[in-house]
């Protein structure tokens, strides 16, 4: 019986682990903290697994665990946020190194947002949840979600500056960085 339970747990992690890690890195700002957050969340899920209805939306359940765990870390300053004095240097070109540099800049800018704003942006634009679903996960109103999303995007745009503009979507649906 236990083996069957663990096989199902392993299959779930195999299928969703990569996705969970990507959500976590946007919440925490760096890959090591993201790994810690997913590990801690999976332990909690593993404990609850035998009691769970695994036909239900496990992603939603684990998403709530991750957000709450990250919130508790933040409150306890278990993970101190230490904004870098200098943002990673932005480079030009279309190669992998450039994308990694842009990725680091985006994570850094996200990490400097207030925790709740950051969570709203990640759940809304990485997880593609509706405003109502984000409100449910975070335990707040839809209006609060809208306000956080608006302020968060505005701040992100200000902090990213040129990087944001280069990825800006024009009216045809193509980004400016690819138009010439």
């Amino acid at each position: 019986m236990r083996r069957e339970v663990d096989e199902r747990f392993a299959a779930y992690v195999r299928a969703r682990g990569d996705h969970l890690l990507r959500v976590a890195v946007l919440l925490t700002g760096d890959w090591h903290a993201a790994e810690d957050l997913v590990q801690a969340s999976l332990v909690k899920l593993y404990r609850a697994w035998p009691r769970l209805d695994t036909s239900a939306d496990l992603d939603a359940y684990l998403r709530r665990i991750m957000v709450n765990t990250h919130r508790s870390w933040w409150r306890a300053r278990w993970r101190r946020e230490a904004p870098a004095a200098v943002l990673p240097e932005s480079v030009c070109g279309d190669d992998l190194a450039e994308r990694q540099a842009v990725g680091a800049v985006v994570r850094e800018a996200l990490a400097r947002l207030p925790r709740q704003q950051r969570a709203v942006l990640v759940l809304r634009y990485c997880e593609d949840l509706s405003e109502a679903s984000v409100a449910e996960v975070l335990g707040c109103s839809v209006g609060t979600v809208k306000a956080h999303a608006h302020r968060g995007l505005r701040t992100l745009r200000e902090r990213l500056g040129d990087e944001f503009d280069r990825f800006e979507v024009n009216e045809t649906g193509a980004s400016q960085r690819d138009s010439g």
């Binding site: 019986m1 236990r2 083996r3 663990d6 747990f9 392993a10 992690v13 195999r14 299928a15 682990g17 990569d18 996705h19 969970l20 890690l21 990507r22 959500v23 890195v25 946007l26 890959w31 790994e35 997913v38 590990q39 999976l42 332990v43 593993y46 404990r47 279309d94 190669d95 992998l96 994308r99 990694q100 842009v102 990725g103 680091a104 985006v106 994570r107 996200l110 942006l121 990640v122 634009y125 990485c126 593609d128 995007l153 992100l156 745009r157 990087e163 944001f164 990825f167 800006e168 979507v169 024009n170 009216e171 045809t172 649906g173 193509a174 980004s175 960085r177 690819d178 138009s179 010439g180």
Partner: protein, 293 residues
């Protein structure tokens, strides 16, 4: 979703691409599982060892990426970052709905790291990118064109050298325009630019499994719609599917490119990833530098 929100979505996809190696998501679960083994030996003898063995087999690399868009953009970036061979089949299927042209096929190999590459088509035309220059083989058609418009091609030369035009050539939008208008025109396809085009794809959706000789993966539908940089800003588009293998590389890109009333069909196959590419410039004695180039 408005433009700012869509841009945020793109940036978040980029920000989650570079997963570092060695991440083990189940380390803590395994540790807890082992603790349980110690605490309940009898039960562990039946199940926990199996659990540990089972979980130990899970690696992050086996997990799928979070979204179709991220899968495709990451595959395009990865493919464009190392050497590969490419086969391009193209034909015009409609010019104002009036006529079509037969398929033209080109074969090429590229090494973006070292900035070298070459293309050869089924009519014998050749183009090479090496040492910061583009070399174009002077076919009879090209010689005739120079004969009409000048400058005259000197006797005894086989290649023209366009100095200062290294690989890659035009930008992605220009690439799509060329692809739409001149299918089969050697040099109209720069695979690096086509891969870059995928970074601005929209409506990316997984449509099912894909496979080819020696690989399996997934197929994704996509749309790229943009505008040329010229004064008219003519819209161009590419709609089709892209196949990504399990190693996260682009294997096949099929679609229809549209420019005004011209529609062309393209089928582009990538392979031989990481294979060394050796391209030499033509002999200097056979090379001509057009005046003013």
């Amino acid at each position: 979703m408005n433009d700012t929100e869509e841009t945020a979505r793109r940036l978040f996809a980029v920000a989650t691409e570079d997963v570092p190696p060695g991440i083990d998501l189940l380390r803590a679960v395994r540790a807890r599982s082992r603790t349980r083994v110690v605490r309940a030996r009898a039960l562990a003898a039946l199940g926990a060892a199996g659990i540990v063995a089972l979980i130990a087999g899970i690696t992050l690399s086996a997990a799928p990426a979070p979204s179709a868009f991220a899968q495709v953009t990451r595959a395009a970036a990865r493919t464009a970052a190392a050497s590969y061979t490419v086969r391009s089949d193209q034909k015009i299927v409609a010019i104002g709905g009036l006529r079509s042209k037969p398929w033209a096929t080109a074969y090429g190999e590229f090494d973006p790291v070292h900035g070298v590459g070459e293309f050869t088509d089924n009519l014998g035309a050749q183009i090479r990118w090496v040492a910061g220059s583009t070399y174009v083989f002077l076919t009879d058609d090209l010689r005739a064109a120079y004969q009409r418009t000048g400058p005259p091609v000197p006797a005894g030369v086989s290649w023209e050298q366009l100095a200062g035009i290294p690989l890659p050539t035009g930008g992605p939008a220009a690439e799509l325009g060329m692809l739409s208008i001149f299918p089969g025109f050697l040099g109209s396809v720069d695979p690096q630019d086509l891969l870059a085009l995928l970074q601005s794809a929209t409506d990316v959706r997984e449509v099912g499994p894909a496979s080819g000789p020696g690989w399996t993966g997934s197929a994704y539908s996509f749309t790229v719609a943009t505008k040329l940089n010229g004064p008219v800003h003519t819209p161009v588009s590419l709609r089709g599917t892209v196949d990504v293998d399990q190693q996260g590389r682009v294997r096949q890109l099929d679609g229809q490119a549209s420019f005004a009333t011209t529609v062309s069909q393209v089928e582009i196959t990538f392979g031989d990833f990481g294979r060394p590419v050796s391209v030499s410039p033509p002999p200097a004695s056979q090379t001509w530098v057009p005046p003013g180039s």
